[in-house]
């Protein structure tokens, strides 16, 4: 054993700075690539996004000088009714997705927590559904939900009048939300199933010995065990709702009229169809803020629960 190590172990001064010792002890350099990537691909674009939202940027000056206009974009965006309507629609989508992911996700996960060939097959199909590009599944649903599509034909066969799934101003938002919920379900089933499998068997057995029935065991024993997982799933679901754009783009493009203009659709149309870059950036930042407002309390609550 060298004298240097001996001195260090004794906590005596070694002639090296505290930083050097820290760097020597922890493999902090391993983080450099990750920090670099994060800075380059997340932090820097975020800074540009904020700068864009505080400037007047259009096609004529996207390359060149951006004139600083302060909070004018935010004033304009927030004083337009459309963003509040878009926010309300997005929250509606999030609520439906939360209900679907929790209720159907839990039921599906409970059923699929039993092993066997059927379970494996169903899980394989669910992974396939989850991995389908939205443009593919969205196009398929657009065909299925057309006024003269297979679903309406089936309804017609049993004497039910055709439904304008994607073109009714009252239904379109919920039809597309249903498609999004369908696409999101496999993920929630897989996540909840993973958590279910991790619930200690002896807990469930103890509940059974105490005379708890199936549902009581599920609600009083299993669900509390899943709370941290469900908290994270809730956050991911809200995030998913606030970034869901593909299915709207494929099926309705924000229509009929403006009835499916959610925040991401509004941001896309403003920035990339109308080329109002700074307004689009502002809507995106408002969207981020809305997500943070929903997500942070959840995260704090989960943290509080986990603290001893």
């Amino acid at each position: 054993m060298s004298s240097l190590v001996t001195e260090t172990d004794a906590g005596r001064p070694t002639g090296r700075s505290a930083l050097s010792r820290l760097l020597g002890r922890t493999p902090i350099w391993f983080l450099v690539p990750a920090i670099g990537l994060l800075a380059g691909f997340a932090v820097y674009p975020l800074i540009v996004l904020v700068r864009m939202s505080l400037s007047d940027v259009g096609p004529s000056n996207i390359v060149g000088e951006w004139s600083f206009i302060g909070l004018q974009n935010f004033v304009e965006v927030l004083s337009d009714d459309e963003i509040w309507l878009a926010l309300a629609r997005t929250i509606g989508v999030a609520l439906v997705l939360l209900a679907s992911n929790f209720v159907f996700g839990f039921v599906g996960a409970s059923i699929l927590s039993v092993g066997g060939r059927v379970t494996e097959t169903v899980l394989a199909v669910m992974v396939f559904v989850w991995a389908l590009p939205p443009i593919v599944s969205g196009s398929a649903f657009k065909f299925l939900l057309d006024d003269s599509g297979p679903i309406n034909s089936a309804l017609d066969a049993v004497g039910i009048a055709p439904v304008s799934w994607l073109s009714s101003p009252d239904l379109a938002l919920w039809s597309v939300t249903g498609i999004i919920a369908w696409a999101a379900l496999p993920f929630s089933v897989l996540v909840i199933r993973g958590a279910l499998m991790a619930v200690p068997v002896d807990l469930v057995e103890a509940a059974a010995l105490d005379g708890a029935g199936y549902w009581r065991t599920q609600f009083r024993i299993v669900l509390p065990q899943l709370r941290p997982t469900l908290g994270i799933l809730a956050i991911l679901t809200v995030l998913y709702a606030f970034k869901s754009f593909d299915f709207f783009y494929v099926t309705t493009k924000g229509g009929p009229g403006t009835t499916t203009n959610t925040l991401p659709v509004l941001a896309y149309n403003t920035a990339f169809s109308g080329f109002e870059m700074s307004t689009g950036a502002t809507i995106a930042l408002v969207s981020m803020l809305a997500v943070a407002i929903f997500a942070v309390p959840y995260i704090r609550a989960v943290r509080r629960e986990e603290q001893p």
């Binding site: 096609p59 006024d147 994607l166 009929p256 997500v291």
Partner: protein
Amino acid sequence: MHSTRARRGGALLLTAGLAFGLSACAISDGTSGGGGGGDDKTLTFWSYYQGTQADWLAAQAEEFEKNNPGVKIDIVKTVGDQQDQKLLASVATGDTPDLFINNIVVDYPTLVAGGVTADLSEYWDDFADKDQFSESATWTTDDKVYNLLPFTNLIGLYYNQDILSEVGIDSPPTTLDELQADLEIVKAHGQYEGIALSGAPTVEGAWLFAPQLLGQGIDYCSFEGPEVDAAFDRVETWAKAGYTPQATATWDQNDSWQQFATGEYAFGINGNWQLGNAAEAEFEWGTTQYPAPEGGTSVVYPGGEGFGIGANSDKKDLAWKFLEEAVLTPEAGESIFTIAGSIPVRADVAELPAIKDNAQVQPFVAAAQTSGSWPKNENTANIQKALGEAVSSVISGQTSAADASAAAIADIKAAIEDGGGGCS
């Protein structure tokens, strides 16, 4: 404790990252394959042509390469919806292609404002055949030519002759009132649908609605008055009577063509690019010009792809040579008509028997002679989006005709002002 902190930090980062993802691509760069450097004899051509139009371009490029040994045309396939964004980004990255097509309906003012397009005035002034082209073939700003439209696409009225004969309509309508009367007859018959058209809340919905006013001299620059209210009233009447199904509120032009092609619809509004597809229909069909509004004439907006040269291209002379030899010639005009159904703007090509003797093409050729003028405003896309949303909202029943008309008038005016106020 540490794991909780880490989880919280991770979740927050994820939150920021995903939400940011909404708009991060606003500043993404263009695709590879720009024309700023590289091989001196390779021209990069960004194209979103598909199907027969892509076949035509590939054939023209091949012919040009054969006639110009050592030159290569590198056609980079792009996505139409994203062409503008990528071209704007390409200026920032110095990766602008040597040649590109663009959707003149929405792209031209944006691309000129963004400094993407090269000034073609000198090339055009020296072009020997320029007299063969009408004024509408050149797209100019401040008296400089930036874009060329050698072929055009226009919309017209397709009709299912079998249905018309069965319900007792002798001839296709020439006015909107006649069309409405015919739709009433078709609907009363009970077996067929009325008219398939695009009412999407996009540029497409606006493009199909605008001719109801253009023929009365009302365009985006003068979008107000009782005529506008009346046009929205008509849309509402057709929607409530079921002449246009509610689903048209989200149909694009391809959707509406597929519906017309089923043979269930008496009429369909669509473009000349569907002529090739119409030839495969299993029913008798015909075409006529977009029905004129009462007291007016049939006027539609010209559409199609403009051809431009990248402002940053260092091979502009070679790029112009390609346009001159492979795009602007009579042979190119005839071949794109034959292969893809596009209407050539060249006067001598329009006189070719293949076009002149084709009764189904003639309504589109006639429309090309009287087409309307797009507003010269960099906010053209938003101007049309405002109209498309208003039309879609009326068809779907989201808003009344009066509300939609008022909203469209206000939004279009605001969009024009926001785009610098320039219009005609």
